[in-house]
Structures are given as structure tokens and as C-alpha cells.
């Protein structure tokens, strides 16, 4: 359990949020052109990093907005929070 600072509402308990998984996976621009391998990569393969991970969260029990979080998955420490569409902070 940890505290997440929603960029719209401020600090709230993690239980108010829904985790949305790895961030910055780009949706294919031309889905019809994709090979099976590329589909598998897009749909299923994940970095699943132990350490600094960029991920999406949704404040479901609050403003219901999506945003990005940089979190150390080895100890759940949050390093940065930034809005959708903003450039990720450099490590």
C-alpha cells in the first residue's frame, strides 16, 4: 500500500486508483498491416521490470482521469507523476 499523488486531486491512497499497466505502448497505426508476431508483441509481451517502471494509473474512485506514474517496482516508491500526453521525465 502506498500514496499516489494524482496530478488533478493531490495525494490519495493507492486503493482509490486502478493500475493500467505498462505505459507508452504505442497502438499500431495500421492494424491491418501487422504480422502475428507484432500483434503478440503489442497485446501480450511486457517488460515487467523489477526497478523503475513507467506505468498508467486511473483515479477510478476520484476524478476518473488517466495519468502516468514512474515507480520503483522493487519497493513501490513513486519517483514522478505526469499527465497523459506529457513527456516522460528522464531517468
Amino acid at each position: 500500500m502506498f500514496i499516489i499523488k494524482c496530478p488533478f486531486c493531490g495525494e490519495r491512497e493507492q486503493s482509490e486508483f486502478k493500475a493500467g499497466g505498462e505505459a507508452h505502448i504505442i497502438r499500431p497505426k495500421q492494424p491491418t498491416e501487422l504480422s502475428d508476431d507484432q500483434w503478440a508483441e503489442y497485446l501480450f509481451m511486457r517488460k515487467n521490470i523489477k526497478g523503475i517502471q513507467f506505468e498508467r494509473w486511473n483515479h477510478v474512485h476520484g476524478c476518473r482521469k488517466w495519468f502516468n506514474v514512474v515507480r520503483d517496482t522493487s519497493n513501490d516508491e513513486i519517483k514522478a507523476v505526469y499527465k497523459m500526453g506529457e513527456k516522460p521525465p528522464v531517468q
Binding site: M45, R46, I49, K50, Q53, E55, T73, D76
Partner: protein, 417 residues
């Protein structure tokens, strides 16, 4: 040669105050080279090494473990064993394991305290009833024992369940697999470690893998905290850390590692002589031989390797437990912990070759790997020894995420994963 464990050896050792028992396994330093290296000294890894030595005549095997034997997820699960899975591929896999469990204590001469006390799954709404009936039929077509129980029969089988129609999620029925049950989880790791050691397997503890070395598309060996070890076959059975090892070899897996929590209560007299699981309200409970209630909670929805989970998950599970078993309302919980489980998108495991020659993965067991330990080890050993899968694990290859031929057990497998 190991001394056989028996009633006579117990009596003999009692005379020397149990101070002269033989070591269960050696603690060797790694050799320069092995024919096969298994990464991960949990139940699955040790079972793999044991069956490789026993059934496939592989001589030169090492198991490398970053901690100590029995200190990982093998010692963190809630010890439930069952095979009542919906799909044919899963039924084949898990029932193969269940059949091996039935003779395991004798085979490895180690009492794993396998107890076929039955596993009951509850239905709390109309859709649950339909799903559970469908699964019961599917199980029986696959030769797996399963019966559907009415609310009355549920109450008769486990009298402490609150079957009042007035609770928030009333019990509308359930399924029962009588051959299912529990086993002492760390004894499974110790038993396989001892049996593998006797077959000549080197069990190397406190040896963390730092890198997997490959030359092109062929593995060369592993860098560890105890130096470089050469090999041309590596089997990875590292549970929650599978992706970390895959990344070392430059592979990506379809896994997410999440905390799964469990807790045990203070010990009490026997009150529940079976395992009761409820998918809809997410509460599992059984009672250990020490008398503790063993309670399984759900996973958190975020990736984490912290071995901690969120409090609200435990709270949700205990709410459900208290509504189903009001008798437990004043019990104290003694311990709570988290383990990191690697979850596949289809909630089925991967026992497979990879695109790198000599690198094999046994992962993705998610929240339910313990029950499969002997079967997983047997089939993974077969896959490594023959460089091709056994027919029972052919469906669990890594290419299913490319072909789309998934074994979708999410929600179908009697519990939500």
C-alpha cells in the same frame, strides 16, 4: 547413499536425541560445467532436476537458488491441490500432477503430508451456478472426479458455512472434488531436494544468477554470485522473477508480476476438515495440521516485486470470510505475507522452449503453481531432455501468444486468478 526414512530410523535416532540425522542434501560449490542448469530452487525447479535425473538419465545437473531451499513461493502459498480445470489441456496438465501427488511421499521417501480432504468451490449467483455445473460436466468428461452440490449438501459437507439466503452473496450451491486437498508445502521442496541430491544433483544455495550468457542464439552459461558456470541447457523456474531472467537473455515474456497475499490465524481445534474456495467473493480457507486457518487473498492489480500487498485486498477477503463463517468473527490473525506471482494473460502457465537454443522457461503459473509441482517438474524435465514438449504440455508453449491458441482459464478454472 541416503538412509531411508522410516519408523525404524525414527526410533533409532530417538536414542541419540535426534542429533545424528544424516544431512538431507549437500551444500556443494558449483562445478565449472553442467549438462543442465535449473535456475530456481523451489518446488518446480527441484522436481524438474529430480525427474531429469530419474527418468531421463541426465547425470550432471545443478539447481541454483538465490536464497535457500523452501524460502520462496513454495513456502508462501496456501498449499491447495486440485485439478478441476475447465479446458482439456489444463485438465490433462493438472490431473497428471494430481496423480503424481498421490504416490509422491512413497516415491521420494519423504512425507509431504498430502491430504485428500476435498476442495469445495461455492456458487453465489446464477451465473456461478451455470459455470460450476458446466465445469463439473467438463471435468467428468476428462475423467476428473467432480460433483455438483446443492446448498443443503454444501451445508452438510461443511457445517460451519453460513447458508442463510439473507446474506449479501448467498450460497446457491457448489462443486466438490474429493481427490483434491492440501500438502505440506515446504516438505515438498525439502523432499524433492533430498531425492534430487541422492540422484547426484548439485543444489547450490545462496547463488544468484546475474546474467545469462549467449552466443548468437545459443546459451553458453550463467554468471552468478559464485562465478561463471558453463552449460548448454538452462531451465528457468523462477516464478515471479521469470521476466527478470528473460530480460538477461534478451527475451520478453507475456508476464506481469504481482503481489499475492495470504494469512494464517492463531491455532484452534479442528473446525474445518476440507478446503472451501469462493470465486465470487474471493475467499479461500482451510485448516493446517497445526490448527491455523490458512486464508488466501487476491492479487493486487499493479506490478510489484516488493513482497508486500495492499491492506484493502486483505480487508476484502476477510469481509467475505466473516460473512460466510460468522463463527470466525473473534479470531486473531497471526501472520500475513505476500509472494510475487507471474501471471500470463490467459492465466495458464508456460512450459516451453524459447527462440534461444538451450533456454527453456517454466513460468506464468500465476496464483496456482503449487498444485502442479510434480507434474510441472515431470513435463519440464521431458521438454528439456528431448528438446520438445510432452503431449501434456504442448498446448502450454510460448508461441500460443502469437498463434492466438490461448488456454483461457481466467475465471473458468474454478477460481479467479
Amino acid at each position: 547413499m541416503k538412509n531411508k526414512y522410516s519408523i525404524f530410523s525414527l526410533i533409532k535416532n530417538a536414542f541419540s536425541y535426534h542429533e545424528n540425522w544424516q544431512k538431507a542434501w549437500k551444500d556443494p560449490l558449483p562445478k565449472k560445467e553442467y549438462d543442465v542448469i535449473i535456475i530456481g530452487g523451489g518446488g518446480h525447479g527441484l522436481a524438474t532436476a529430480y525427474y531429469l535425473a530419474k527418468k531421463h538419465n541426465t547425470k550432471n545437473i545443478a539447481v541454483v537458488e538465490k536464497g535457500w531451499i523452501g524460502g520462496g513461493n513454495t513456502g508462501r502459498n496456501t498449499t491447495i491441490i486440485r485439478s478441476n480445470y475447465l479446458w482439456d489441456a489444463s485438465a490433462g496438465l493438472y490431473d497428471h500432477a494430481l496423480k503424481l501427488w498421490e504416490g509422491l511421499s512413497q516415491e521420494i521417501n519423504y512425507n509431504v503430508m498430502f491430504s485428500q480432504r476435498g476442495v469445495m468451490n461455492l456458487a453465489h449467483n446464477l451465473q456461478d451456478v451455470r459455470d460450476l455445473k458446466r465445469r463439473t460436466h467438463a471435468n467428468r468428461l476428462n475423467g476428473i472426479d467432480a460433483v455438483y452440490l446443492s446448498t443443503k449438501e454444501v451445508k452438510k459437507f461443511c457445517p460451519i458455512i453460513n447458508t442463510s439466503p439473507d446474506i449479501r452473496y448467498p450460497v446457491l450451491g457448489g462443486t466438490l472434488q474429493r481427490r483434491a486437498g492440501t500438502a505440506r508445502h515446504d516438505a515438498v521442496a525439502w523432499g524433492y531436494a533430498r531425492a534430487a541430491d541422492e540422484m547426484g544433483v548439485d543444489i547450490i544455495q545462496n547463488c544468484e544468477v546475474k546474467n545469462i550468457k549467449r552466443k548468437g542464439d545459443v546459451v553458453e552459461g550463467i554468471e552468478t554470485t559464485k562465478g561463471f558456470i558453463k552449460t548448454n541447457k538452462i531451465g528457468v523456474a523462477a516464478a515471479g522473477h521469470s521476466s527478470v531472467l528473460a530480460n538477461m537473455a534478451g527475451l520478453k515474456l507475456p508476464l506481469e508480476s504481482k503481489p499475492l497475499q495470504a494469512l494464517v490465524s492463531e491455532p484452534i481445534k479442528p473446525i474445518i476438515d476440507t478446503v472451501v474456495m469462493s470465486n465470487a467473493v474471493h475467499a479461500y480457507v482451510s485448516q493446517s495440521d497445526k490448527g491455523e486457518l490458512v486464508i488466501g487473498a487476491g492479487t493486487d492489480d499493479y506490478v510489484s516485486y516488493s513482497q508486500k500487498g495492499s491492506h484493502d485486498i486483505v480487508e476484502g477477503t476477510l469481509n467475505a470470510i466473516l460473512e460466510l463463517y460468522p463463527i470466525f468473527s473473534r479470531m486473531k490473525m497471526l501472520r500475513q505475507w505476500g509472494g510475487i506471482v507471474d501471471i500470463c494473460p490467459d492465466a495458464s502457465p508456460i512450459i516451453s522452449k524459447t527462440s534461444i537454443k538451450g533456454l527453456y522457461f517454466n513460468c506464468g503459473w500465476g496464483t496456482g503453481g503449487f498444485k502442479a509441482t510434480p507434474g510441472s517438474g515431470d513435463l519440464f524435465a521431458h521438454t528439456i531432455a528431448n528438446d520438445e514438449p510432452h503431449k501434456l504440455n504442448a498446448a502450454f508453449n510460448i508461441n500460443r501468444f502469437v498463434s492466438g491458441d490461448l488456454v483461457d482459464e481466467h475465471g473458468a478454472a474454478a477460481v479467479a486468478h
